[in-house]
């Protein structure tokens, strides 16, 4: 067993520096690496490029990095729900690249899987495809989208073991598996870190080979953005 266990979040983020490109898992506030984000705020690293489907809300998730002016550029598919983000974007302080959600996922996965680029039909004929190579396959047009190049990938899983194997829960899975092994160093934080042998190999979603560092997160707030319920 190759042990990936790291004791503290500060050790897990060792090597993170200004102007790096980071991938961060999560959809809205669901399945975000809360501990890693809190540590990035604490470190105060600046000039970051963040690849993440959303940008958090004003006072939680990636919104915390935005409030702190640590982000130079966001690469996302949907950035509503965040006033400070909108302000920084419209004033030109923040560079924003919006991509179709499936393209965002596949550019992560391409990096993970060793593909330099992929062709997708998404965005053809729109401003997303401007300046990009396009090609006809069997009479339909596709856009060439390149694999992301990132320094760190921060993902959140439900359970993990010391070998770095990961299991996700519910829709907190989202982009997290696609970002594992898609950056130079993948840091996984889990709600429960178990010794090897505790997880059933049949149930592993992401094998430890894609993860360089794993640690148990301290507390998870798991904030709900839209609490919708029905009566009994």
């Amino acid at each position: 067993m190759i042990n990936k266990k790291i004791d503290t979040v500060s050790q897990a983020l060792h090597g993170v520096a200004n102007n790096m490109t980071l991938m961060l898992g999560g959809f809205g506030l669901c399945g975000i690496p809360e501990n890693a984000i809190a540590e990035l705020v604490k470190l105060g690293v600046k000039g970051l490029t963040c690849i993440s489907n959303n940008a958090g809300v004003d006072d939680f998730g990636l919104g915390l990095l935005l409030q702190n002016r640590q982000v130079k550029k966001m690469i996302s598919s949907y950035v509503g729900e965040n006033d400070e983000f909108e302000r920084q974007m419209l004033s030109g302080e923040l560079d924003v690249e919006l991509l179709p959600q499936g393209t965002l996922a596949e550019r992560c996965r391409a990096a993970q899987a060793g593909f330099p680029a992929i062709y997708t039909p998404a965005g053809y004929g729109t401003e997303v495809a401007e300046g990009k190579e396009t090609r006809d396959f069997d009479g339909k047009m596709y856009v060439l989208e390149h694999a992301f190049k990132a320094d760190f990938s921060f993902v959140k899983a439900w359970k993990g073991d010391e070998a770095g194997n990961l299991i996700f829960k519910g829709t907190a899975r989202n982009f997290n598996p696609n970002m594992c092994g898609a950056a130079k160093i993948t840091v996984a934080e889990v709600e429960e870190l178990l010794p090897v042998g505790a997880l059933d190999p049949n149930q592993i979603h992401i094998p430890g080979i894609f993860v360089q560092r794993i640690f148990e997160g301290k507390t998870y707030e798991k904030r709900i953005e839209q609490r919708t319920v029905r009566q009994k």
Binding site: F27, G28, L29, C30, G31, N53, S76, S77, Y78, V79, G80, E81, E86, M89, L90, V96, L98, L99, P100, Q101, G102, T103, L104, A105, E106, C108, R109, T120, P121, A122, G123, Y124, G125, T126, E127, V128, W158, F168, K169, G170, T171, A172, R173, N174, F175, N176, P177, N178, H205, K222, R223, I224, E225, Q226, R227, T228, V229, R230, Q231, K232
Partner: protein, 218 residues
């Protein structure tokens, strides 16, 4: 004239037995409430769930189980969770049978705009561009005119496009229309709405052939 619930009711009639369906945010979300109970349908949400159920009973919300609108949801028996890449494999790979989404503008050749108003609103496209680029069966749910009374069914879209040549059917508060290579073909009128009213509210080319029946909602 229909309200938003009426639009959802009419679209629900397009959902057939055995369909996997992706519902967008807004009116499309309401469609799930009106699908016939005697057919088997599964709802997909692009954040990674197939087999979505109703909202949870108060106190049973789970922050780890949400839909693409970030609302807490439940799952039904037979449901599954998956990552974003696999989710869009279902969508781009045409495994999802029907996509229902909202729009700010649709043009007579089936272009759709629904993600950006330059200088005003830039929230992003989310999964919409993937959905419209691939689905064979796309229904747009929207009001026929905007808040200023201007037509949303245009010759050409004025806003940045989400996809080209992709919308097949549109259900509005006034009508059901099919996008053909000659323009918007009027299929049905909303209850109490005249063909003239629809003509006046449609900027793009409207094709009216023969008697246009009134929608049947129930």
């Amino acid at each position: 004239m229909l309200d938003k619930t009426g639009i959802a009711k009419r679209i629900a009639k397009e959902v057939q037995d055995g369909y996997y369906v992706n519902l967008g945010i807004g009116i499309p979300t309401l469609v799930a409430n009106f699908v016939r109970k005697d057919i088997d349908v599964e709802f997909q949400s692009e954040n990674g769930v197939l087999g979505m159920g109703p909202f949870p009973i108060e106190g049973e919300e789970d922050a780890d189980i949400i839909n693409a609108g970030k609302q807490t949801i439940t799952t039904l028996d037979g449901a599954s969770f998956f990552d974003s890449s696999l989710s869009f494999s279902m969508i781009r790979g045409k495994h999802v049978n029907l996509t229902i989404l909202g729009a700010m503008e649709v043009s007579e050749n089936g272009d759709i705009a629904n993600w950006k108003i330059p200088g005003k609103m830039i929230k992003g496209m989310g999964g919409a561009m993937d959905l419209v680029a691939s689905a064979d069966n796309i229904i747009v749910a929207m009001m026929h005119t905007n808040k200023r009374g201007e037509s949303k069914l245009l010759k050409r879209c004025s806003l940045p496009l989400t996809g080209v040549n992709c919308v097949k059917k549109i259900v509005t508060n006034l009508a059901v229309l099919q996008v053909t290579n000659k323009g918007f073909k009027l299929l049905e009128r909303a209850p109490g709405v005249s063909v003239n009213t629809i003509k006046n509210a449609t900027e793009g080319h409207l094709i009216v052939e023969g008697d246009i029946p009134e929608m049947v909602l129930e």
